[in-house]
């Protein structure tokens, strides 16, 4: 079974969520410079995580229904993070604090095992993403992401996908047509 689903069910059962949040479209969950060690579960809606370079917004990751989303750098280091997390549309989240979550993880050998699986998947996803960035052909980048996350194209508007794929919306439209 999907490790995330396993954890969600248990956290629901044990009533461990610390909070529930509702964001309206374009609302910021997190801005640059803040420390955020929460883990967020997306009940509905979608979000983008980005960094601001000068005046360019570079999207690092998305979160949509049934994903966990976090400012992972801050979650791990407990230090400030540059990341912006913004709701793309009306979004509902369940929140669990790092301490609550880590206590939950460490509460059973099974949970620790599942956490290790999740971490392994995360590392693997980061490696895939690293390869995305190093792929110079826009068509090849598009194909890679389409293959591993077809759901993305149902949930997220084109202009944001284009930014994530590091191409203009026009180039993305052209690629999708051909």
């Amino acid at each position: 079974m999907n490790p995330i689903t396993n954890f969600i069910e248990k956290i629901d059962q044990q009533n461990l969520w610390d909070n529930r949040l509702e964001l309206i479209r374009k609302e910021y969950l997190k801005v640059k410079g803040s420390i955020d060690t929460n883990l967020y579960f997306v009940v509905s809606g979608s979000l983008r995580i980005y960094v601001l370079e000068e005046f360019e917004e570079n999207i690092i990751r998305f979160g949509y229904k049934n994903n966990f989303i976090a400012s992972l750098d801050s979650f791990i280091s407990e230090k400030p993070s540059d990341l912006y997390i913004q709701a793309i549309k009306k979004t509902e989240l369940k929140v669990i604090k790092k301490k609550t979550f880590m206590d939950f993880v460490e509460s059973s050998a099974e949970n620790i095992k599942i956490w290790h699986i999740m971490l392994g998947e995360l590392i693997f996803q980061q490696m895939e993403r690293e390869r995305d960035i190093l792929t110079s052909s826009p068509l090849a980048r598009y194909k890679r992401v389409l293959a591993r996350s077809p759901q993305l194209f149902q949930e997220i508007p084109n202009k944001y996908i284009a930014s994530y794929l590091r191409m203009t919306p026009e180039t993305l439209s052209r690629i999708k047509k051909s």
Binding site: K26, Y28, S34
Partner: protein
């Protein structure tokens, strides 16, 4: 007022996040609502934003300049200056919003305004977030900035940040009242 520098910076970052969210909310309103005035000489919502933009035009470059030229080390605590604390506190929106006289060069009445006014404000807030983050590397007490109303007065940069962020809150509260 004494507080840890890190707590101060985190508090101002969080207030700025809320200010950005309020601005995003306003930007979804109609041009009509945004330009509406209660009385001839009172401000519309867009005028509130433009006023804040005019202040940002002075303070953002000023704060940036002082941070970049500061040769200080970060200090654990920030102790507010007498004048800085007074200015900062007087900016905070109170229960009953008191009217303050606006300096002529920061009076937005007469300017041509539209949704890009709000976008500009949001962009300025992101610049302020950059500066707040950078300010973790300097001494918030020893680094001083000028203020917009007088070249003779200098404030501790910690207080300058408070003045700017609280001032934003003040006028966003005013803008919310206009909606009612």
């Amino acid at each position: 007022m004494t507080v840890t520098s890190e707590k101060l910076i985190q508090d101002l970052i969080e207030r700025t996040r809320i200010n950005i969210n309020q601005a995003e909310n306003f930007s979804s309103l109609s041009a009509e609502k945004l330009n509406w005035k209660a009385e001839k000489d009172s401000w519309s919502i867009l005028q509130c934003f433009e006023h804040l933009n005019l202040y940002g035009d002075f303070y953002i470059p000023e704060i940036k300049k002082r941070i970049e030229s500061s040769k200080t080390q970060p200090k654990e605590n920030f102790k507010s200056g007498v004048l800085g604390n007074y200015f900062a506190k007087s900016m905070l929106p109170k229960e009953k919003l008191n009217k303050m006289k606006t300096f002529k060069d920061k009076n937005p009445i007469g300017s041509k305004l539209d949704k890009s006014t709000i976008e500009r404000f949001i962009l300025q807030q992101k610049q302020i977030l950059n500066l707040l983050d950078k300010s973790r590397e300097i001494d918030l007490n020893k680094t001083k900035t000028a203020i917009s109303i007088s070249k003779l007065i200098k404030l501790k940069i910690g207080d300058t940040f408070r003045v700017v962020v609280y001032h934003n809150e003040r006028h966003l509260t005013q803008a919310n009242k206009i909606l009612e």
